[in-house]
Structures are given as C-alpha cells and as structure tokens.
Amino acid sequence: MWLWNKLKQLAISLRAGVVTLHYPFEPRPAPAGFRGQPVWDHTKCIGCAGCANHCPARTIFLRDICQEVRILLYDSARCTYCGRCVDLCPEKAITMSDKFELATDNRQDLTQAIELFMMTCQRCGRCYDLEIKNYIDRLTLLGYRYDSLEVRKVIKKSTSEFQPEMLEKTATYQRPERLEK
C-alpha cells in the first residue's frame, strides 16, 4: 500500500519529465493579446489626455510647456500594465506590446515622452469627450492638466483654473534626449 502510493507518486513525476524551461537562453514569446509595455504612436496621438486621466496608477503625465507644445510622459516605474489607456484611446494610438523583459538600471530606458504640436486653440482636444459614452469615464475629463514632470506628480486642473506660476517650472523641463547624456 505504502509502496504502491510511492510508486504512483514517482510515476507522476517521471511521466511529466523535466518541465523547467531554459528561459533566458530560449526566448519565450508572449501569447497574442499579452499586456506588455504600452507603446505610444506619436503620429496618431492627438493629445486628448484620455490615457492620462484614466491611468489607475497615475503614471501618465501631461504638461503644456507653451501654447503649442504639449508633452505626454509615460513613466513605467509605476505602471501596472492594466491596459486601460489602450481601451480608452480614441485614436488607437496606444498598443500593448509583447515586451515584458523590462528590467533595467536606467529608468529612462522605459520612459516614453511625446512632444505634440497642438493647435493654438487647445479646447479642440475635447473632441475626445464625445467618443466616450461611459458616464463614469466622462466625469473625470476636466480638461488640460499641468502635471509636474520633474517629480512625476499628477496635478489635476482644468484650463479655466490655469495659473501662470505653474508654467515657471517648465523652464527646468529637460527633453528626453538631453536626459540620456
């Protein structure tokens, strides 16, 4: 009885064989639909800030550094890869890639920043609003945001409450290519 049980246990093990994968040496591609690192397509992005407003981890930041240029910064350090931004993007400018090997010693490797040239009338961005039928989602759309890119902090403010002092810090904003050096 005892021996029979032990033999059964051994049989299970031997039938399965070695299942450990030679993982780092043999690449293991992610399946279709995998939620890896999100990637922004700057040609499609209209700068509507839908992703920034709905990121549960609050890790997508937005700042208008002048009348024409808007910066969208994605900081993957806090990203939970939920894919909410992809769902909500009206222009399908964001895709969840299959990249998951994201360990790095330089945070800049994973940070994505897009500089978008916006029309002078910044209100145009609100066309995004009409795309969203979900009322819960619509509630958070307050307008443009002036997040602090330096400390990666979300500052939710609508354009009507825009304060010029907030722009002072934009002088210290470093463009990504400069940061790399």
Partner: protein
C-alpha cells in the same frame, strides 16, 4: 423573503424607539438603522435568529451631520439574506458598545475602527492597536476625511508593540515577521512548552498599503477595480468582481448576462489555480516538496491559459464597473476546455497518489482540530468551515453573477482538521472545472461586454456584495460619494475572519505543526492588511538602520 419580513417585524417590536429607520434594498439585503444604545441588543436578537457575523465597517459621513457611523453586517445563509445594522454617533463622542464579548469574530473589525477612525468601544476585551504601525502618532485617524492620503508622520524609534507575557512555564518562539513558512510578513509569538504550543499572540498588518484610503481620495470608480485586483496576489479577480458588484448594486446598474458568465469563468479559474497553489504549499509546509512541485506544475497550465485569455498570468484586469473588458469567444472557449481536460486528468492522478498516502495522513489528521461549535463561534468561512461540517458557500447561499443558473455541489466534510481542508479543496477543484464547463455551454451567445453607463452614480447609496473567494467569503461594502468616487469602501477578505481563530486551532498542537495549521486557512496576509496609510520600516531591523531604509523608500517615492 419571509425571513426578511419576519426579522423586520421582530426588530421593530423588540427595539421599539431604538429602531430608527430601514432601507429595503432589493430582496436579499435589509438595512436597519438602530440607536447607538441598542446595538448589542440588536446583535443578540440577530445572533439568536441564526445569523453569522460578517464584518464591521466604520465610516465618517461627509454630509448629513450624522457624524461617525458604524455598520455591522449579519448573514442569514439559509435565507439568502444579509442584514446590515447601522448606528451613528456624534463626531465629538464616538463611543459604541462592543460586540466582541458576544461575538469574538467582531474583535478585529472594532479594533480597526479604533485605529483608523478613532472610535471607542465599551467592554472591548483587548482594544490594542491592530492596524496602524506602532509609531503612528496618537490622535491621527487615517480614514477621517481631514487626513490627507499621503500623510507621512515622522517615524520614531523607541515605540514597540507590547506583546503579552507568556503564561508561566512556557517560552516564546517568534514566528515572523520573516519566516520561511509565512509567505508574507506577520508575527506570531508562539508560547511553547517543549514542543507543545500553549498559546499564541498575533501581530500582523505589516503590509498596509492604504488601498481603501486611496480609493476614497485619489481614485475614481473605474480606477478602483484595478487597485482592488491588487489587494491579493492570488484572488485578485474576487476583489475586483466584488467591488464592481457592490458599486453596481448601489447604483442600480444591471450588467449583461454574458458579462456575468465571463466573470464566473474568471472567478472559477482563479479558484482552480488557488487551490492547486494551496495544495503545493501545504505539501511544502509538511516537508513534501514533490507534491509542491507537481501541484504547481499542473497549476502552470492554468496560469498560461489565463495569460492567453486576459493578457496576464495573474492580474487579469477583466473587470470594470458595468461589465468585463475582454470576451471569451469560441476559440478561447475551446482553449479553456482543452486545458481543463488536461488539468482534470493530471489532478486525478495526483489525487490518487496522495489521498491514501499514510505518511501525509500522519502529518495532517487530527492536526489543528477545531470542533464545529468553535468554528461557528468564530464565524469561520470557506474551506476551513466546510472542513468542520458547516455547509456555507456564498455561491449557493447568496448567489451572485451567474451562479443561480449553475449546478454544483459544495463539498463538506466533518474531519475538523487540516486533512479536512485538504479534502475539501481537492474536491472543489473538480467542482470548479465542472462550473467552468457549464458556463461555456450556458453562456448567452451575444450581449455587450460592458454596458454604457449613461448617468452618474448617485451619492450616498450603500451596498454590500459577497463573493466566495477560494479561501472563503469576501465582503465588500461600498458607500457611494461625490466626485465620481466612493466615499467609503471596506474590504473584508476571508483571511480576516479565519485568522482570528488560528490561536485556538494552534492550542495543544506540536510546534512542528505550526506551519501547516496556519497554512490550512490559506492565509492571505496582504488581503487582510489592505488598509492603512503609509509603509513604515519595521522596528527590529538591525543591520540596516531604519533611517537609511526610510530615506531610501521616501526617495524612491518622490524622486525615483
């Protein structure tokens, strides 16, 4: 239904003037407002009627001038009814009567209210600090609305939690905060006499992440499901479904039937992998690593399946308020069926190999014994209760999502020990496979995944939702608020209820059985610890100075 009327009449007749008001939210919930002084009496009446205590929720009303509120919920499992007793106290004198003397399982909920909201409880047997870290300053109650979510009081070094003195003739063996049999930080100070355990004290809540506070301040309704999912690394979907159900109930949203079926599939997949995980961990805890590895090998198929279905192995991210995010189409359904077939076959052979193994019986039978009466006294739930002859299962008793349409059995055994929990969990694996198969067959072919929410969620509504997690019943209580965010969201994870009875289970067992007894409730410390505000380094770290740790952690937080 009849029970609801009966209880209503009974409470009205018994409480007279102390019965302030009621709210009939659907068939299965009864909200009762009672006067502060009649709380214990109400609880006694309900317990006499066969109620099971679930959870106590404290909150601060933002409007209405009612000050602080305390909510106790009682489940009537045979009648699919949950009675929610609300009572109020003014802000300057938040004193309530303690239910702990008559319901021991209420002890933690009340201690949590003391810590987080500054309530006071009369006749509480041990109002020690439960949730907050030891150096959190007195008089700051994190869940009050005037405390910001990112408050970081300066740390002090000379404060420690005062553990009780061990009974005479025993010595203390400290298990935790870091111990190889505890997979998450928690501290058990175990009193031993030789190898025999003579008692124990628990100090947990070391991994508070302030999730509830965060949801009430920073996040919006549809952000919370993703945070709720991260309450637990094993049963995340349980919490996001539970939260979404609570919000939907509060707002009166009816989601599509198809979405409900998809939610059930995800919940049962989660139960499958969780039970296999537990089986492996149980093997490891009794030193049988081959069971560990083989159970996890079988489990891995389910993880890969989940990755193909949802895009991630564990945090599925499937649930939002109003439905689900990804579909299970024909192709995916076939994939699920194929994986289930393989898992069932492998599980059967594993079960055959271990179920009659005398060496495993030796380590699990009669270990961690708790009688049915004690289990009822402590309001145990989940497999831990079902191993002690108590047939409770939220899927049957309080059907949610699509469970009313599904046929399944609730395995119940009366061993009353660790072995019983093992048998129950192994049987539940087959039930879960059965349920998923039924779901795939019965799922309506069309229907929106998520419905459009065309009106804002009204504020001031309350709802309670239960979901049977792999470890037992999880309870979520939601009070809707202004500005598109919940005003109060309370999570009662199953471990919260079961862990309180662990000292009793440990009594008079051998020290060697400590890991498997604690393991038998499948403790999920991070579920239990979800509340508080800031992570603060432990007092006892010797090698790295605390200030260094703190500088590092704060630096990471702000500067990266």
């Amino acid at each position: 239904m009849a029970k609801k009327e009966e209880l209503r009449e009974l409470l009205k007749a018994e409480l007279k003037d102390d019965f302030i008001g009621e709210e009939l939210a659907g068939e299965r919930r009864l909200f009762v407002d009672v006067h502060n002084r009649a709380l214990v009496k109400t609880a006694e009446i309900l317990m006499k009627q066969g109620a099971r205590y679930q959870v106590g929720v404290g909150y601060e009303s933002r409007k209405g001038g009612r000050g602080l509120a305390l909510v106790h919920t009682f489940a009537f499992d045979n009648d699919a009814l949950i009675v929610i007793v609300r009572t109020f106290a003014p802000e300057d004198n938040p004193e309530f009567d303690s239910l702990t003397p008559i319901i021991p399982g209420a002890g933690w909920s009340e201690r949590e209210c003391i810590d987080l909201l500054g309530f006071r409880f009369k006749n509480h047997p041990g109002p020690k600090r439960l949730v907050l870290s030891d150096d959190w300053p007195e008089g700051i109650y994190p869940l009050r609305h005037d405390v910001p979510h990112d408050l970081m009081p300066p740390a002090t070094r000379d404060v420690v939690f005062r553990l009780e003195q061990p009974p005479p003739g025993t010595s203390i063996v400290p298990f935790g905060p870091f111990h190889s049999s505890l997979h998450e930080p928690a501290h058990f100070s175990v009193y031993v006499d030789g190898e025999n355990i003579k008692g124990c004290e628990y100090r947990g809540f070391m991994t508070h992440r302030g999730i509830e506070k965060l949801a009430q301040t920073e996040l919006t309704y549809n952000d919370v499901p993703f945070v709720a999912e991260r309450i637990c690394g094993i049963c995340g979907s349980v919490h996001s479904v539970n939260y979404a159900q609570a919000v939907e109930a509060a707002a009166g949203i009816k989601i599509s039937r198809r979405a409900e079926f998809i939610r059930v599939v995800m919940l049962e997949l989660e139960r499958l992998h969780s039970h296999l995980l537990w089986l492996g961990v149980a093997g490891h805890l009794i030193g049988f690593d081959t069971v560990f590895m083989q159970a996890w090998r079988i489990r891995e198929r389910i993880m890969w399946l989940a990755e193909r279905l949802t895009g991630n192995r564990k945090t599925y991210g499937m649930v939002i308020v109003g439905g689900v995010r990804r579909d299970i189409n024909k192709e995916k359904a076939e994939d699920i069926k194929q994986v289930l077939k393989e898992v069932e076959r492998e599980m059967l052979s594993l079960e055959k190999a271990i179920i009659n193994d005398k060496t495993i019986h030796k380590r699990t039978r009669g270990v961690g014994y708790l009688s049915k009466e004690d289990a009822l006294k402590w309001n145990l739930i989940g497999p831990v209760a079902r191993a002690r002859g108590i047939a409770i299962d939220a899927r049957k008793d309080h059907p949610y999502a699509a469970y009313d349409e599904l046929e399944f059995e609730v395995p119940v055994v009366d061993y009353g020990d660790v072995w019983g929990t093992l048998v129950v969990r192994v049987k539940e694996v087959y039930e879960a496979i059965n349920i998923i198969r039924q779901c795939l067959n019965k799922m309506p072919a069309d229907g929106p995944l998520a419905i459009d929410l065309d009106a804002p969620i009204p504020s001031g509504r309350q709802a309670l939702s239960v979901v049977e997690a792999p470890r037992g019943e999880a309870v979520h209580y939601v009070l809707t608020g202004e500005e598109n965010k919940p005003e109060r969201w309370r999570v009662r994870a199953p471990t919260y209820a079961n862990l309180q009875a662990v000292p009793e289970m440990l009594m008079n067992n051998k020290l060697a059985d400590f890991p498997i007894i604690v393991g038998s409730i499948d403790p999920c410390i991070s579920c239990t610890d979800r509340v508080v505000v800031i992570e603060i380094g432990l007092q006892k770290i010797k090698v790295m100075r605390k200030e260094e740790l703190e500088t590092i952690s704060r630096k990471m937080r702000f500067e990266g």
